[in-house]
């Protein structure tokens, strides 16, 4: 079945959405068919790909079993990249889903038929900055967890929390297929010692998990969402585009060797 990759980290602002949108676009450029699911009520991945946040378009009803997933899949500007949009109502879903049966498996159950149809090469899920019900659903549905990690001190502190959670979910059977796909270092600024120190710390602690590709801090990456475009459409020759293309290559290479 189609591998499902959760892009999560409870630390805020580490580049989850930027990685979800740009990795999805770079995989599509390499002729992979990708579905991106925006599971964050902030709906940044939705606007980052140029879609409007429309009421009723989010995965909310699907998680409660009131609507089939196929009905809410939308096309993006790229024929190989589809998206399930989000909207602010999704914030209310946490409480409703928490009261539903098998509340951690709602996304897994909704995605299972689609994953078995294999109409996509990958399903990516952009998560909100917390380890609440929505992120837990993504982890329980996922085959892999991709952790974007800012090259800063506060981001360093939280990494063991999410890694422990992955072990607990895997061992308890709530997330039977879940393994750490990799850690991608973002907003790397080669001019500062702080960035180098944080990368070194992660390389020492998790040598087999960290991707070689480092995503540099680049204002072009921060500008692209205001045009509703992934970086390879907004500024195909900038350092940010090159870095995400490299990450897509490395992501595919690791998957082949799994």
């Amino acid at each position: 079945p189609t591998p499902i990759i959760a892009i999560a980290n409870q630390k805020g602002g580490v580049g989850k959405t930027t990685t979800a949108v740009n990795l999805a676009a770079c995989l599509a450029e390499r002729r992979k068919k990708v579905l991106l699911i925006d599971l964050d009520p902030q709906a940044n991945a939705t606007s980052g790909l140029g879609l409007a946040k429309t009421e009723g378009a989010s995965i909310y009803d699907v998680l409660l079993g009131d609507r089939p997933l196929a009905e809410i899949i939308q096309q993006s500007n790229d024929p190989r990249l589809d998206i399930v949009a989000s909207e602010v109502d999704l914030a209310g879903a946490e409480i409703d889903v928490a009261r539903a049966d098998q509340y951690l498996q709602r996304l897994a159950m909704a995605l299972e038929p689609l994953a078995h149809q294999e109409s996509y090469h990958f399903i990516l899920v952009d998560c909100p900055p917390s380890l609440g019900i929505l992120t837990m659903n993504a982890l329980c549905a996922a085959d892999g967890l991709l952790i974007p990690m800012q090259c800063e001190y506060y981001a360093l502190e939280g990494i063991s929390v999410i890694l422990n959670l992955v072990n607990k979910l895997h061992e308890s059977g709530a997330a039977p297929r879940l393994a750490v796909e990799g850690i991608v270092m973002t907003m790397y600024d080669m001019r500062t010692n702080l960035s180098r120190q944080v990368v070194e710390e992660i390389r020492n602690h998790f040598p087999d998990k960290i991707y070689d590709s480092l995503i540099p801090r680049s204002v072009r990456l921060a500008e692209a969402p205001s045009h509703g475009l992934p970086i390879i459409a907004y500024d195909p020759n900038c350092t940010g585009a090159a870095a995400y293309r490299q990450l897509a290559r490395e992501f595919l290479k690791r998957r082949r060797n799994m």
Copy 2:
């Protein structure tokens, strides 16, 4: 009674903790007695002030009524700045608090006796990156909401969501005293058009809310937490220290003119 200021924004990584820690330290430097409450399970404000995350030290038991607040107040290196630490257990509080009576008023009830003792000039509350139960408790307990806002596009999108919530909580009576204290622009990089455009957009939409003080992007601000120090102790003469001192002056001036 002592004014309670919530520092909140559901967008992740916008500088909530950096603002909470450094504004608290700058107010203490101006001879104000301040209590900083870390309401985020990530416990970044706790480590940002050099305290250890110890199990059982968080506000978790206080929110459930099992322990008085006074028992968990700790001293920081600064005699005028006290802190209520956080730890990872606090993540479990969201579910337990949601099931308690008056689940939105738990923090307000816990803080009320302390606010009436007036042993502090200000109580600041650092919030997690969400509009879940913990942040809602902070808003319902607060007199003012300080919104740190990164000078970037995704941060712009979320501002109306939290402002609408403030109106709803105020009108419904859940947060009777709550008003927007101000919007502080963070990580301002004068070299980029993006920063200038976002600041202009906020100035146009919320001219009476935005602080004049702009917090510049400065690596010294990102380095200070790894030493467990606020910026005025880590590098008192850097641009980040000057900017937070200016914000403290402006914050006090606005409060006086209220």
